[in-house]
Protein backbone atom coordinates (compact mmCIF):
# COMPACT_ATOMS: atom_id res chain seq x y z
CA UNK A 1 0.00 0.00 0.00
CA UNK A 2 2.88 2.34 0.74
CA UNK A 3 4.17 1.77 -2.80
CA UNK A 4 0.79 2.86 -4.21
CA UNK A 5 0.17 5.66 -1.69
CA UNK A 6 3.68 6.89 -0.77
CA UNK A 7 2.46 9.70 1.49
CA UNK A 8 0.14 7.49 3.52
CA UNK A 9 0.84 5.77 6.81
CA UNK A 10 -0.80 2.50 7.72
CA UNK A 11 -3.11 3.05 10.66
CA UNK A 12 -4.82 -0.25 11.21
CA UNK A 13 -4.29 -3.81 10.03
CA UNK A 14 -6.86 -6.48 10.79
CA UNK A 15 -6.08 -10.07 9.94
CA UNK A 16 -9.01 -12.46 10.23
CA UNK A 17 -9.35 -16.22 9.79
CA UNK A 18 -12.73 -16.34 8.06
CA UNK A 19 -12.57 -20.09 7.44
CA UNK A 20 -10.07 -22.38 9.11
CA UNK A 21 -9.82 -26.11 9.72
CA UNK A 22 -6.41 -27.04 11.09
CA UNK A 23 -5.02 -29.75 13.33
CA UNK A 24 -2.71 -29.34 16.27
CA UNK A 25 0.37 -31.40 16.97
CA UNK A 26 1.65 -32.80 20.24
CA UNK A 27 4.77 -30.69 19.77
CA UNK A 28 2.72 -27.49 19.80
CA UNK A 29 0.92 -28.59 22.97
CA UNK A 30 4.26 -29.47 24.58
CA UNK A 31 5.65 -26.05 23.62
CA UNK A 32 2.73 -24.31 25.36
CA UNK A 33 3.17 -26.48 28.46
CA UNK A 34 6.92 -25.84 28.57
CA UNK A 35 6.48 -22.10 28.19
CA UNK A 36 4.01 -22.01 31.07
CA UNK A 37 6.32 -24.18 33.15
CA UNK A 38 9.50 -22.16 32.66
CA UNK A 39 8.34 -18.55 32.47
CA UNK A 40 6.20 -16.54 34.89
CA UNK A 41 2.71 -15.70 33.65
CA UNK A 42 3.52 -11.99 34.04
CA UNK A 43 6.53 -12.25 31.67
CA UNK A 44 4.56 -14.24 29.10
CA UNK A 45 1.72 -11.77 29.28
CA UNK A 46 4.12 -8.84 28.76
CA UNK A 47 5.79 -10.58 25.79
CA UNK A 48 2.43 -11.27 24.18
CA UNK A 49 1.26 -7.68 24.25
CA UNK A 50 1.13 -6.37 20.65
CA UNK A 51 4.42 -4.46 20.93
CA UNK A 52 5.87 -6.57 23.75
CA UNK A 53 8.68 -7.90 21.53
CA UNK A 54 9.23 -4.79 19.46
CA UNK A 55 12.24 -2.51 20.01
CA UNK A 56 10.03 0.51 19.32
CA UNK A 57 6.35 1.40 19.67
CA UNK A 58 4.31 3.66 17.43
CA UNK A 59 3.79 7.08 18.98
CA UNK A 60 0.05 7.25 18.49
CA UNK A 61 -1.15 3.69 18.08
CA UNK A 62 -4.66 2.98 19.30
CA UNK A 63 -5.22 -0.53 20.63
CA UNK A 64 -7.80 -2.25 18.46
CA UNK A 65 -10.92 -3.70 20.06
CA UNK A 66 -11.02 -7.30 21.20
CA UNK A 67 -14.40 -8.01 19.61
CA UNK A 68 -16.01 -6.05 16.82
CA UNK A 69 -18.34 -6.27 13.84
CA UNK A 70 -16.84 -5.96 10.38
CA UNK A 71 -18.97 -6.99 7.39
CA UNK A 72 -15.84 -7.26 5.21
CA UNK A 73 -14.58 -10.02 7.51
CA UNK A 74 -17.82 -11.95 7.86
CA UNK A 75 -19.57 -10.17 10.75
CA UNK A 76 -18.64 -10.59 14.41
CA UNK A 77 -14.95 -11.23 14.88
CA UNK A 78 -12.91 -11.93 18.00
CA UNK A 79 -9.56 -13.31 19.16
CA UNK A 80 -8.35 -16.80 18.31
CA UNK A 81 -5.62 -19.04 19.66
CA UNK A 82 -2.79 -17.54 17.59
CA UNK A 83 -3.81 -13.86 17.91
CA UNK A 84 -1.34 -12.77 20.62
CA UNK A 85 1.68 -14.67 19.23
CA UNK A 86 1.11 -13.56 15.66
CA UNK A 87 0.40 -9.92 16.62
CA UNK A 88 3.58 -9.75 18.72
CA UNK A 89 5.56 -11.20 15.78
CA UNK A 90 4.14 -8.74 13.23
CA UNK A 91 4.69 -5.83 15.61
CA UNK A 92 8.30 -6.94 16.13
CA UNK A 93 8.74 -6.79 12.35
CA UNK A 94 7.41 -3.21 12.54
CA UNK A 95 10.01 -2.43 15.20
CA UNK A 96 12.92 -4.08 13.38
CA UNK A 97 12.00 -2.07 10.27
CA UNK A 98 12.18 1.11 12.39
CA UNK A 99 8.46 1.78 12.18
CA UNK A 100 8.34 2.13 8.40
CA UNK A 101 4.54 1.64 8.36
CA UNK A 102 3.95 4.87 10.28
CA UNK A 103 3.40 6.31 13.75
CA UNK A 104 -0.18 5.11 14.11
CA UNK A 105 0.31 1.48 13.16
CA UNK A 106 -1.73 -1.19 14.91
CA UNK A 107 -2.18 -4.88 14.15
CA UNK A 108 -4.73 -7.29 15.53
CA UNK A 109 -5.65 -10.84 14.55
CA UNK A 110 -9.17 -12.28 14.67
CA UNK A 111 -11.43 -15.16 13.72
CA UNK A 112 -14.97 -14.89 12.36
CA UNK A 113 -17.50 -16.24 14.87
CA UNK A 114 -20.90 -15.27 13.50
CA UNK A 115 -22.24 -13.83 16.77
CA UNK A 116 -21.06 -11.52 19.55
CA UNK A 117 -21.75 -14.24 22.13
CA UNK A 118 -19.51 -16.80 20.44
CA UNK A 119 -16.73 -14.24 20.05
CA UNK A 120 -17.03 -13.22 23.71
CA UNK A 121 -17.13 -16.84 24.90
CA UNK A 122 -13.95 -17.63 22.95
CA UNK A 123 -12.25 -14.50 24.26
CA UNK A 124 -12.96 -15.57 27.86
CA UNK A 125 -12.00 -19.20 27.14
CA UNK A 126 -8.62 -18.18 25.70
CA UNK A 127 -7.82 -15.98 28.71
CA UNK A 128 -8.86 -18.78 31.08
CA UNK A 129 -6.79 -21.34 29.19
CA UNK A 130 -3.68 -19.17 29.62
CA UNK A 131 -4.23 -18.94 33.37
CA UNK A 132 -5.04 -22.66 33.67
CA UNK A 133 -1.74 -23.58 32.01
CA UNK A 134 0.07 -21.88 34.88
CA UNK A 135 -1.44 -24.44 37.32
CA UNK A 136 0.85 -27.50 37.66
CA UNK A 137 -1.90 -30.15 37.98
CA UNK A 138 -3.50 -28.87 34.79
CA UNK A 139 -0.18 -29.27 32.97
CA UNK A 140 0.15 -32.78 34.42
CA UNK A 141 -3.30 -33.72 33.08
CA UNK A 142 -2.47 -32.27 29.68
CA UNK A 143 0.81 -34.19 29.52
CA UNK A 144 -1.01 -37.39 30.39
CA UNK A 145 -4.06 -37.12 28.15
CA UNK A 146 -3.38 -34.62 25.34
CA UNK A 147 -1.63 -35.57 22.10
CA UNK A 148 2.01 -36.41 22.84
CA UNK A 149 5.08 -34.89 21.19
CA UNK A 150 5.77 -36.58 17.87
CA UNK A 151 2.05 -37.15 17.21
CA UNK A 152 -0.06 -34.97 14.97
CA UNK A 153 -3.20 -34.80 12.87
CA UNK A 154 -3.93 -37.83 10.65
CA UNK A 155 -3.43 -37.75 6.88
CA UNK A 156 -7.22 -37.52 6.45
CA UNK A 157 -7.48 -34.63 8.91
CA UNK A 158 -4.70 -32.79 7.12
CA UNK A 159 -6.21 -33.32 3.66
CA UNK A 160 -9.55 -32.03 4.93
CA UNK A 161 -7.94 -28.93 6.43
CA UNK A 162 -8.32 -25.49 4.88
CA UNK A 163 -7.63 -21.85 5.49
CA UNK A 164 -8.93 -18.49 4.34
CA UNK A 165 -7.39 -15.47 6.04
CA UNK A 166 -8.23 -11.95 5.01
CA UNK A 167 -5.89 -9.11 5.91
CA UNK A 168 -7.31 -5.59 5.70
CA UNK A 169 -5.05 -2.57 5.95
CA UNK A 170 -6.29 1.02 6.22
CA UNK A 171 -4.30 4.21 5.80
CA UNK A 172 -4.59 7.18 8.14
CA UNK A 173 -6.19 9.33 5.42
CA UNK A 174 -9.71 10.68 5.83
CA UNK A 175 -11.54 8.70 4.51
CA UNK A 176 -9.05 5.84 4.88
CA UNK A 177 -7.85 3.94 1.81
CA UNK A 178 -8.04 0.19 2.12
CA UNK A 179 -6.04 -2.68 0.73
CA UNK A 180 -6.42 -6.38 1.33
CA UNK A 181 -4.60 -9.66 1.00
CA UNK A 182 -6.45 -12.96 1.01
CA UNK A 183 -4.38 -15.97 2.01
CA UNK A 184 -5.91 -19.35 1.25
CA UNK A 185 -5.08 -23.03 1.31
CA UNK A 186 -7.11 -26.13 0.51
CA UNK A 187 -5.33 -28.42 2.98
CA UNK A 188 -3.94 -28.21 6.50
CA UNK A 189 -1.71 -25.13 6.35
CA UNK A 190 0.26 -25.93 9.49
CA UNK A 191 1.58 -29.40 8.68
CA UNK A 192 0.63 -30.72 5.23
CA UNK A 193 1.52 -27.52 3.39
CA UNK A 194 4.73 -27.22 5.37
CA UNK A 195 5.64 -30.73 4.23
CA UNK A 196 4.76 -29.90 0.62
CA UNK A 197 6.73 -26.69 0.80
CA UNK A 198 9.73 -28.60 2.07
CA UNK A 199 9.36 -31.32 -0.56
CA UNK A 200 8.84 -28.90 -3.45
CA UNK A 201 12.50 -27.94 -3.59
CA UNK A 202 13.77 -31.48 -4.12
Amino acid sequence: MQQKYPSASIQSVRCCATDIVVGISGGSIASAINLAEHYPLRDLSAALKPFGLSPIKPRQSVRAKDILHDDRLGGWIGPWLMSPVNAATVCRTYGLLQGKWGDRFSYREYMTYGSWWKAKAMSIALKLAGVMLAIPPVRWILRKYARASGKGPSQEEMENGRLVMKILAETDDEPPRTGSITVSADADPAYLLTGRSHASEY
Binding site: L97, S184, R196, S197
Partner: protein, 57 residues
Protein backbone atom coordinates in the same frame (compact mmCIF):
# COMPACT_ATOMS: atom_id res chain seq x y z
CA UNK B 1 5.93 -21.17 8.83
CA UNK B 2 8.72 -21.83 11.30
CA UNK B 3 10.03 -24.63 9.11
CA UNK B 4 9.76 -22.59 5.92
CA UNK B 5 11.48 -19.64 7.61
CA UNK B 6 14.28 -21.93 8.76
CA UNK B 7 14.78 -23.20 5.22
CA UNK B 8 14.92 -19.66 3.84
CA UNK B 9 17.47 -18.68 6.47
CA UNK B 10 19.56 -21.75 5.77
CA UNK B 11 19.56 -21.53 1.99
CA UNK B 12 18.64 -18.08 0.78
CA UNK B 13 19.35 -15.72 3.63
CA UNK B 14 21.46 -13.41 1.46
CA UNK B 15 18.38 -12.55 -0.61
CA UNK B 16 16.36 -11.34 2.40
CA UNK B 17 15.76 -8.00 4.07
CA UNK B 18 17.03 -9.60 7.28
CA UNK B 19 20.45 -10.07 5.68
CA UNK B 20 20.61 -6.46 4.55
CA UNK B 21 19.59 -5.21 8.00
CA UNK B 22 21.69 -7.38 10.25
CA UNK B 23 24.37 -9.42 8.53
CA UNK B 24 25.55 -7.70 5.35
CA UNK B 25 28.37 -5.82 7.11
CA UNK B 26 30.14 -9.12 7.77
CA UNK B 27 30.18 -8.70 11.54
CA UNK B 28 29.09 -11.59 13.68
CA UNK B 29 25.91 -10.80 15.58
CA UNK B 30 22.71 -12.45 16.71
CA UNK B 31 19.22 -11.16 15.99
CA UNK B 32 15.74 -12.46 16.76
CA UNK B 33 14.16 -12.30 13.31
CA UNK B 34 10.55 -12.49 12.20
CA UNK B 35 9.08 -14.08 9.04
CA UNK B 36 8.18 -10.59 7.78
CA UNK B 37 11.88 -9.87 7.28
CA UNK B 38 12.25 -12.80 4.90
CA UNK B 39 9.91 -11.16 2.36
CA UNK B 40 9.28 -12.53 -1.11
CA UNK B 41 11.65 -15.48 -0.68
CA UNK B 42 9.47 -16.86 2.10
CA UNK B 43 6.30 -15.98 0.21
CA UNK B 44 7.49 -17.97 -2.81
CA UNK B 45 8.34 -20.96 -0.64
CA UNK B 46 4.88 -20.86 1.00
CA UNK B 47 3.24 -20.62 -2.44
CA UNK B 48 5.20 -23.68 -3.56
CA UNK B 49 3.67 -25.51 -0.62
CA UNK B 50 0.11 -24.59 -1.59
CA UNK B 51 -0.60 -21.32 0.21
CA UNK B 52 -2.09 -18.71 -2.13
CA UNK B 53 -1.85 -14.93 -1.78
CA UNK B 54 -4.28 -12.57 -3.54
CA UNK B 55 -3.47 -8.86 -3.24
CA UNK B 56 -6.13 -6.18 -3.78
CA UNK B 57 -4.95 -2.57 -3.37
Amino acid sequence: MLVESGLVLAKEVEKTEAWRLFFSNGESQSAVLTPGLLGEILERRLENGGLHFALDV
